[in-house]
Amino acid sequence: MKTVLLNRSLALFFLGLFFGISGCKITLVPSYDAQLKEQIESTSKEIDRFYLNMMDMTSNAEGGRAYDQFREGYINIEVELLSLLNKNKVRPLNTHSTRICEITLQIWRKYKQEHKEDDAIPDGLIKLNMLAMNDLMYAMLIAEKGKAIADNPPN
């Protein structure tokens, strides 16, 4: 009985020793990417500019807000969102950020399609779209910045 206990204690000790000196670290999230954070911020600004221009510089009268007037803007932003999705997808342990990008892209495409079908958009809906996109971009930014917590040295 004593031998078994001694063996167990030794095994436990050597296991601890192995983990203790092997430089074992737990990784749950990918490293913080400052360039990606900058791209999220610039895309977010582009979306704000797109909707603010739409609201302040155009009106629904005489087809001023027809889809064709904004087609290029929609495409430019979709390209940025796709780029963010692809950059997130290739990083390991990054399912949360990838899913946020997928949702953002899905909603952006939905709003684009609605505008295309209606060929007009009221002020209220522009505001609502902008608020929704703001929140999604904020979620993306928070997720990226959150990764920096793990990179900071432990307290």
Partner: protein
Amino acid sequence: MNFDINEVLFQMTDAIKQNVAENWDEVKTPANNFLQNRKERYTLLADLLINNEISQPRFDSRMEDEKLIAEAEFHAIAVISKAIAQKAANAAIDIFQNAVKAAITVAT
């Protein structure tokens, strides 16, 4: 050999508690912002329906979007929570590593 497992475990637990407490605001602040943003959108959405600026089907469709936005928000909070857990766990591992290394140094 100078290795007190109880003392090491106590220090590891303390490091985990300290790291989680110090980073708690990183979760609380965005969670509050998400709630505030949601409140603003719901108010606007209700106004748009009441003032007939959007149809009932579009209102319903936007409520469906809210589920997706909530999912995105939870994913953002999950990243922060995991990052805090990673930092806390590694702080505890560091303490263990240092204690084992110190015990080896004393023994040799």
